[in-house]
Symmetry: C2
Subunit: 321 residues, 2 copies
């Protein structure tokens, strides 16, 4: 019998390296910060990769940039499109502008005005639809058909995953050898990219996903070894409401070492600690890994831990405590 190579599905460490070369001129190489006060509280050695300081205020800009700058010129010319009301929409709008093309964003007509303004501010075209999944998809398909724009999904898409992995790549470059690397899990784009980057760059570092207990589809899927969709998530971490995709789940299953959850009150406490002690504005989703460290102290204490602060886009008129 001749030897057959296994079929490689999805992106690899090599794609993360290529993504980094591709997007380097456009992204910020964000700083890694530390806090003596948080080290004392957690009894661990924490290194925070500040993607809240990334352009558009979130790591999402990395994936959007990689996806858009991977397109051939004649395809890019027709623009890109997506449905999102969060950071992916703003990221895609800015990345498209930098590529010299257009981004069309399908948004539910009840989207918060602060998010609509953000996308407009980066030059995105907004098309409103009814606030249902069916309406979103139908509207998007129509736009793609009419304009020839390329659909850039928010997370279950190889170039996006590879792009998100570049945050961990930089973090691992800028810190001493880490025992653990934590990132929040929503659709799974960031944690998958992080796992791929770590596998190649620092294989002894374990990658751990952090999820709100009130939106724990990844936790349940991981332990059941099968993809279980999110049902009725109810969390302050509004960037983590989505379910995993088939690509992100398969990467998580293979390369993520574990997934931990945190309670709502711990997420709020972690977020407040970061604002107060580190003087950094992070959004609730970005606080979930630190919340996990606080809540599972017996596992994390004494370890050298990288944490990705995924974003800092908060509606400041809201009250969190």
């Amino acid at each position: 019998m001749p030897f057959t190579l296994p079929i490689q599905i999805g992106p690899t460490y090599h794609d993360v390296l290529l993504a980094h070369e591709r997007i380097k001129p456009f992204i910020k190489h964000t700083p890694v910060m530390t806090s003596e006060s948080l080290n004392r509280i957690t009894q661990a050695e924490l290194y925070f990769k500040c993607e809240n300081l990334q352009k558009v205020g979130a790591f999402k800009f990395r994936g959007a940039c990689n996806a858009i700058f991977s397109l051939p010129d004649d395809v890019a010319r027709n623009g890109v499109a997506t449905h999102s009301s969060g950071n992916h929409a703003a990221a895609l709008a800015l990345a498209a502008r930098l590529r010299g093309t257009s981004a069309t964003i399908v948004m539910p007509k009840n989207a918060p005005s602060v998010k609509i303004e953000a996308v407009k501010g980066y030059g995105g075209n907004i098309v409103f639809c009814e606030p249902t999944l069916d309406a979103r998809e139908a509207t998007l398909n129509e736009i793609v058909k009419k304009t020839g724009a390329t659909f850039i999904p928010p997370y279950n898409f190889c170039p996006v995953i590879a792009g998100q992995g570049t945050a961990a790549l930089e973090l691992l470059d800028d810190t001493p050898a880490l025992d653990l690397l934590l990132a929040p899990v929503g659709g799974g784009g960031l944690i998958s990219g992080t796992a791929l980057a770590t596998l190649g760059k620092s294989p002894t570092t374990k990658v751990i996903g952090a999820e709100p207990a009130n939106a724990d589809d990844a936790f349940r899927s991981f332990h059941a070894h099968t993809l279980i969709p999110q049902t009725a998530p109810n969390t302050i971490a509004d960037g983590l409401l989505t379910s995993l995709g088939n690509i992100t789940f398969s990467i998580i299953q293979r390369y993520v070492s574990n997934i931990f959850t945190a309670k709502e009150e711990t997420i709020v406490r972690a977020m407040r600690l970061v604002w107060e002690r580190m003087k950094l504005v992070i959004e609730p989703s970005a606080a979930v890994p630190l919340a996990v460290v606080l809540e599972h102290a017996e596992f994390f204490s004494g370890k050298r831990i990288g944490i990705i602060f995924s974003g800092g886009n908060v509606d400041l008129s809201k009250r969190f405590w």
Copy 2:
């Protein structure tokens, strides 16, 4: 008539350089950050020196460190003391701990518990007194007499001024040549140190003080060429309530190019813009220079401007907007 050298009063550029050498092992070399969004809004090129990320969350740690590490061993052994309920108290407590000595802080008994906890957290001994200036000074004098501790004033004191100047020294090292350099004015320690550092390091850069219109003693003193004490200040910028001292005023008169004021609502707007666009928590006092730039756009637009974010110690349970 023989030539007589003028008497040199107060610290010089050289003292700032010496201070930097002395405190370098203990302070953070804080980052300089920029924001495309704020550049667009102000039509200027802004470089923010992030002393909100300094230890104890404020530039005050620089001056306290320089003062304490300037003391001879046998003097330092008896400890240091001050009266303050703000950042200087916390800064002195931590600097004393690093020197291996003690700090006694006289605080009015109605001081906010959040400030009392901060000083305790850094290992300071607190002595409470009646909330009057007389009681403060009497209590402090008693402590100094009894313990032999050295009184470290918060701003009108040469080693403190020289220490505060090291923030501008780093900023001028880390940025391209600046047209203007702005810092908030309370007691005048930061702006005086900044003026001395700039005079030596980048003499073509003009130093400008920024003050709340509702606490404008420095503005009035500067223009009247005589020291006018603060009367009934009423501003959200709670770090800028104090009057100038004779040393800080004489440095400001000679080396500061101008002082501008900003309205309360502009200070709040500037603070919110920084939280929102830069994802940095700054305290109201730290927002005053940006408020001045926003309010006097005709003067500042088109210029390359350094701004010192003086601190980030905010009571997060308070509502600013």
